[in-house]
Each structure stands twice: as structure tokens, then as C-alpha cells.
């Protein structure tokens, strides 16, 4: 019984939240990694693209809610998602026309794109705040929990509860599906392969008859979908706030890089590495040990490796250590 309690406590406070957070990061990192892989630059505007996509979805959600449409136990936002994706896609393709296309034609080096994406980041940032403001927005409806801690306790009679949120479930499932789809798309379909070819050697892609503009457009549309899905799921789970989305950029980049830039599988792995290291290293094992150890051996202290103050420091330290042993990330990102 005590063992089960320990296990449940560990699941509830470490495994489940870290898995959900990891999937959220992974979905964001997928977008970053895709742009890096195909268009060959690190897109600093991605956090704000996620914010924009979520905002669009929220606006549609509100519209649906106001006319009384809902999805029952699932959040209405899921219904609004396709519309949000469309709007975001339009924004991204538009941005590409206005900004990136020029540099592509000029064959600019990637750092120019990176700095341009900083500019786009500022603009998107402002755009989102103009439209929806800098405040917190909550738009989750439907059932919040698949099973709540209290229900779990009543059900099992354990002392510890295990909570599983709808959004956590959704996020994990979505992340798995999206990666599988993306992997299949890039490696098996004609369009996917042409995208990889384009990213590899643009001149040669041209000589093979690949239409670069189409490749670019498809990439942005996929990125729009990824960003909107990631942002919306995150917003449903936590809440929507433009600044937080901007802040998400760092862990997302960290995830994409640990995993190996340009590798979709890497993005997933990276997301989990970051999430789990944040949660586990700073977790206080006191409670778990109390269940497991006999009374006499119970720890006085918290049995915490490091205080949560150093949460980010720790996850970054882990990241650096990973990179020292695997210099191009876990899944061998792009490198020559």
C-alpha cells in the first residue's frame, strides 16, 4: 500500500506533469525545428506565432461560445482550432511574402533571417497585444479532468491522488500523432521529400524541378498548424498570456537544440528531457521516501537535490552536459 502511495505521489507530481509539459514543449519545438530544417534559420518569432495562433483560436472560441456551440466534455477551442490555424497560416504566409521572401531571393545568409525574425517577433508581439491585450485569458471549458485527485483517492482508497487533466491527455496524444504524421510526411511523401531536398541544396532542388515557393508555403502552413495547436493546448492547460508565450521561446529552443535541430524526433525527445530535468531534479523526495522507508529511516530534510530557485539553471546545466557528450543533440541534428 505504501509502495503504491509512493508510486502515485511520484506519478502525480513528477511523471504526469512533466509528461504534459514535455509534450507542450515538444509541440513548440517541432515548429522551430521544422523551420530550421527546411528554411534554415532559427525563428525567434515562434513563441509569438504561437501566441498569435492561440489568440485567433480564442477569438473563434468566444464566437462559438457566444452562439452556444460546444463540444461537450472537450474544450470548445478544439472546434475553433482549424479556424485559428487558417488565420495563422495566412499571417505566416503573408509575413513570408513581405519579409522573408526578399531575403530568400537574395540568397541571404541565415543570420539575416534570424535577425529578420527578431523584427517579426517584435511586430507579432505588438499585434497580439493590440488585438487581445497583455492580460491573462482563460478559455478552457468542458471537463477539466479525466480523473481528478479526489476522485482517484475515492476510487482507490489510497492516500495519494493522481490527477489527469483532459488537456494533458489531449496534449500527449496530439504530440504523438503530430510527430508520427510529420515523420511520415517528410520521409515518405513527394512533397515532404521535396521539402527536404530544398533544405539541403536549393540550387539542385531547382534543377530537379522542385518549386521553391510551394515548398516554402507548405512549410509555413505546417508551422502555422503546429504553432496554433501547441499554443492552444498550452493555453487550455495553463492560461493564455502573450508574455508567457514569449518566455516559452527559451525552453522551446532548448528542447529543439537538445534534441538536435532539424530532427522532429529530436524535438520530442528534447521537450521531455527539458521537462523531466526541471521537475525531477528539484523534486523533494521526502514524501515518496516517507512512504517507502520504515519510520526510523524517514528523512528529516526534504531530500531535494537543489532548490526550485535553480530550476532553470539545472535544466540548462543538463542541457549543456547533454551537448558536451552529444554535440549536435540527441538525434544528431544538422551539422556538416
Amino acid at each position: 500500500m505504501d509502495f503504491l502511495n509512493a508510486l502515485v505521489a511520484f506519478l502525480n507530481f513528477v511523471v504526469v506533469p512533466a509528461t504534459a509539459y514535455g509534450s507542450q514543449l515538444a509541440l513548440g519545438a517541432l515548429g522551430v525545428t521544422l523551420i530550421y530544417g527546411i528554411l534554415r534559420f532559427s525563428n525567434f518569432a515562434h513563441g509569438d506565432t504561437m501566441a498569435f495562433g492561440t489568440m485567433a483560436t480564442i477569438l473563434f472560441t468566444w464566437a462559438f461560445q457566444s452562439i452556444g456551440i460546444s463540444l461537450g466534455p472537450l474544450p470548445t477551442a478544439l472546434l475553433a482550432l482549424p479556424f485559428g490555424i487558417l488565420v495563422t497560416g495566412a499571417l505566416l504566409v503573408g509575413t513570408d511574402r513581405l519579409v522573408y521572401k526578399f531575403y530568400r531571393q537574395q540568397k541571404a545568409v541565415p543570420v539575416i533571417f534570424v535577425i529578420a525574425s527578431l523584427g517579426v517577433m517584435f511586430v507579432t508581439n505588438a499585434l497580439v497585444r493590440f488585438i487581445i491585450g497583455p492580460d491573462d485569458q482563460r478559455f478552457a471549458d468542458g471537463e477539466r479532468f479525466i480523473i481528478s485527485a479526489r476522485e482517484f483517492r475515492n476510487l482507490t482508497g489510497l492516500d495519494e491522488g493522481l490527477a489527469l487533466r483532459t488537456t494533458q491527455g489531449l496534449t500527449v496524444v496530439t504530440a504523438v500523432i503530430v510527430v508520427a504524421l510529420l515523420f511520415w510526411f517528410l520521409n515518405r511523401t513527394r512533397t515532404g521529400k521535396s521539402m527536404r531536398a530544398f533544405s539541403d541544396n536549393e540550387d539542385l532542388a531547382l534543377l530537379s524541378g522542385i518549386n521553391p515557393e510551394r515548398v516554402v508555403m507548405v512549410t509555413w502552413l505546417i508551422v502555422a498548424a503546429l504553432a496554433t495547436v501547441a499554443g492552444t493546448l498550452y493555453g487550455l492547460d495553463k492560461s493564455f498570456k502573450p508574455f508567457t508565450y514569449f518566455q516559452l521561446l527559451l525552453p522551446i529552443f532548448a528542447a529543439a537544440i537538445v534534441g538536435g535541430l532539424g530532427s522532429p524526433l529530436g524535438a520530442i525527445a528534447g521537450g521531455f528531457v527539458i521537462a523531466f530535468s526541471e521537475v525531477t531534479i528539484t523534486y523533494a523526495f521526502k514524501k515518496v521516501l516517507e512512504y517507502l522507508l520504515p519510520e526510523a529511516l524517514e528523512p528529516d530534510g526534504l531530500v531535494q537535490l537543489l532548490s526550485t530557485d535553480y530550476k532553470f539553471a539545472v535544466s540548462f546545466a543538463i542541457l549543456i552536459i547533454v551537448l558536451l557528450f552529444k554535440p549536435t543533440g540527441l538525434f544528431k541534428g544538422k551539422s556538416v
Binding site: 505521489a9 513528477v14 497585444r129 492580460d135 495553463k238 498570456k241 518566455q247 531535494q304
Partner: protein, 377 residues
């Protein structure tokens, strides 16, 4: 009376950056006070007051000082309502306000370091001191019979100061603090913090943060995992946003925010209506900060900071007639007639030595998803 003219007052808060969502209600609070005074036509014989906004960013002391420099030396403001974060406040104070001799009243900077900073009598704040709140919070928790608490604070001078003073007071009173863990605002995820806090245990969780920042994230994560269901909510957390975000999920949680039974806060809320969120942290304090500047001008009979800086304490504290929000005209009139006032305002202002707010506190509790007042302390 002097000839009427237009007086400019600066509003320097962090419109962009980590606390950007707190800034608009603060600015609007201050602007409402200025409009009230202008409309009354009573300030210094009919002067009007124009607000000038400047972004203090909260992260960039350089931008903050440059903006403040512009407020003072270019726009010619006679006083500044601000700044918002302690960093920007300190930088503006020592590099701009002091050299130019301009009064600054910060509604939100609570850093103890600012108490001792050299200020030539130019700096005041309407945010209450953390030390006092720590004691009040201890009393409230103890009265409810809780002996073991976990504490999380937003990792800045406000949170840290409050957490420190509370932990000291609580342990002195015989309670146990299982863990004091910081959280950063605006971050993506708080599972790690909640995990550690849950493991450390405690009957209730003290959340010394901001309601529309990490504070809500922590509460959400704690509720979701079933780690805690009762929370102690200090001033940064008390807001109608709690009702919107959590409703009855956190029934039984309690806390305190500055307030008196004079109902200043309620009146302020009514005045605001739904123009903006009047319960957003430091919005009421901002109204008060702006009001104090103008009342002090009236008391001094001059809009020059050098003249009115000595009157700020006088108008804020007893003796005198108590002035609530919406009664600025009354206050101006009394002062014009040479009377004395005790400005209470929306946040129960009471300045103590060094220009800090002493503050009375309202004990609140969440009941049926609503913030309800229990009593005043």
C-alpha cells in the same frame, strides 16, 4: 488663488515587459485621480492636471531612466506616479528624480532597500511595507488554527521581502514553515515548484505572488494535482481575478490586503465601474499615489516639487478629515481653506517614516467563489 494653468504629472509604469498586464489598470487609476482633480477645478485655483505616460519596462533601467528623463526635463512634469518595479524605481530616483528634485510616489515598489536609499525627501510609496503584512498574515493564519504552512513567493524584492518577513514572524509565533520556494513570473510551467511544495507538506500554501502572474499558475497547478486546496493570499493575490480564475475551487482560502473599514476600495471599485479592472494589484495604490501628489501641491499652494514634497506626509496622515476616493474635490477645498486632511484613499494610505505606507489590512476569505471580507485588522 494663483493663476490657473496646466500641471503635468508623469506616470511611469512598466507597460511592456514581465508585468505589463498590471500596468494599464495602474495608469488608469492614476489618470482617474487626475481627471477627478482637473474636473473639480479646485487645484491651485483652477489648474488642470495632464498625465504623461512613460514606459518603465521593469527590465530595463536604461529605458526607464531615459523615459523618466524625458518626463522631467522635456515634458516638465512636476511629480511622478511610479515607478513600478523596484529596479526601475531605484534607477529613476537616484539618477533622475533626485538630481532634478522631483517628487516620486511609487504605488508598488516595496523593496526594503528603497527605505534606506538617500532620497532628499522626494520619495514616497503607497505600497505597504512587507514587514507589517507578514505579521498580520501570521495572526490571521494562527487565528484559524493552522500551524504548518508552505510558502512560495514571486522571485523579486516584493515576494522575497514578504516571504522573509512572514516566515520570520510565523516561526516566532510558533508555527512551522515547511518550505519557502521561489517561483519566477511569466514562466511556462510550475509543476516543479508545486511538486516540491507538496512533498514538503503543510496545511495551507502561502502564495506571495501576483494574481495575474505566476501566483495563479501555482494555485492552478496545486489544485490540479491535489497538492493543496487552501491558500493564503496576500495583497498581490487578492483580486476579482481570483473569482474568475478559480471560483469556488478555492473556497476557504483566505488572506489579506490593505484596506480599512472606510470602504475606500469599494468606492474606488464603484467609481471605476467596468472601465478597467479596479482590483488589479496596485491599481488603487496608483490612484492614491496620484491623489497624494496633487493634494500635497494644494497644501503647499505650489506645484513645485521642492515646495510640496514636505506636505505629502501631512496630507496622507492624521490629523484631519478623512478623504476617500471620489472625495478629492472635498480634500482640495479643505486644504484651500487651510484645513487639514487625512487622506485614506482607496488603499487606506498611512505613510510612516521614510515615506512608506503603514497600512491597515482587510482579512478576506473565498466563499462560494466570491471574495468576501471577514474583518479589518
Amino acid at each position: 488663488a494663483a493663476q490657473s494653468n496646466d500641471i503635468k504629472i508623469g506616470i511611469s509604469v512598466g507597460f511592456t515587459g514581465p508585468l505589463e498586464s498590471l500596468a494599464p489598470p495602474m495608469a488608469m487609476g492614476a489618470e482617474m485621480a487626475m481627471k477627478e482633480v482637473s474636473d473639480s477645478g479646485l487645484l491651485l485655483g483652477g489648474s488642470t492636471v495632464t498625465p504623461v505616460r512613460a514606459d518603465s519596462t521593469c527590465i530595463d533601467a536604461g529605458a526607464a531612466t531615459s523615459a523618466a528623463e524625458r518626463l522631467i526635463t522635456s515634458d516638465g512634469v512636476k511629480g511622478i506616479m511610479g515607478a513600478m518595479c523596484s529596479g526601475a524605481t531605484g534607477a529613476i530616483l537616484s539618477n533622475v528624480a533626485m538630481p532634478n528634485g522631483v517628487v516620486m510616489i511609487s504605488p508598488s515598489a516595496t523593496s526594503p532597500a528603497l527605505s534606506t536609499v538617500e532620497d532628499n525627501g522626494l520619495f514616497f510609496r503607497t505600497a505597504p511595507s512587507d514587514a507589517r503584512q507578514g505579521v498580520v498574515m501570521t495572526e490571521i493564519i494562527m487565528d484559524r488554527g493552522f500551524k504548518e504552512v508552505a510558502v512560495t513567493y514571486t522571485n523579486n524584492d516584493y515576494g522575497k521581502g514578504l516571504a522573509d518577513s512572514f516566515a520570520a514572524a510565523f516561526e516566532e509565533a510558533g508555527g512551522t514553515v515547511t518550505l519557502v520556494a521561489a517561483h519566477e513570473d511569466g514562466k511556462a510551467d510550475y509543476s516543479a515548484e508545486v511538486g516540491a511544495l507538496a512533498s514538503a507538506g503543510g496545511e495551507v500554501l502561502v502564495v506571495a505572488g501576483y494574481v495575474d502572474q505566476g501566483g495563479s499558475g501555482i494555485i492552478q497547478a496545486a489544485l490540479d494535482t491535489g497538492a493543496f486546496d487552501t491558500f493564503v493570499l496576500p495583497d498581490g493575490m487578492v483580486s476579482v481575478a481570483l473569482e474568475e480564475n478559480f471560483g469556488s475551487d478555492i473556497d476557504g482560502s483566505f488572506g489579506q490586503n490593505p484596506g480599512t473599514d472606510s470602504d475606500g476600495k469599494r468606492i474606488y471599485a464603484e467609481m471605476v465601474g467596468d472601465a478597467y479592472d479596479s482590483t488589479s494589484p496596485f491599481s488603487a495604490e496608483s490612484y492614491d499615489a496620484a491623489a497624494l501628489i496633487m493634494l500635497a501641491m494644494q497644501a503647499a499652494g505650489s506645484a513645485e516639487p521642492g515646495d510640496y514634497k514636505d506636505h505629502v506626509m501631512d496630507v496622507a496622515n492624521a490629523p484631519g478629515e478623512e478623504i476617500l476616493p471620489g472625495e478629492l474635490a472635498k480634500g482640495l477645498k479643505i486644504l484651500a481653506e487651510g484645513g487639514e486632511i487625512d487622506y485614506v484613499g482607496a488603499s487606506a494610505v498611512e505613510l510612516i517614516g521614510g515615506g512608506e505606507s503603514a497600512g491597515n489590512y482587510r482579512e478576506m476569505e473565498m466563499k462560494d467563489g466570491k471574495v468576501t471580507t471577514v474583518r479589518f485588522r
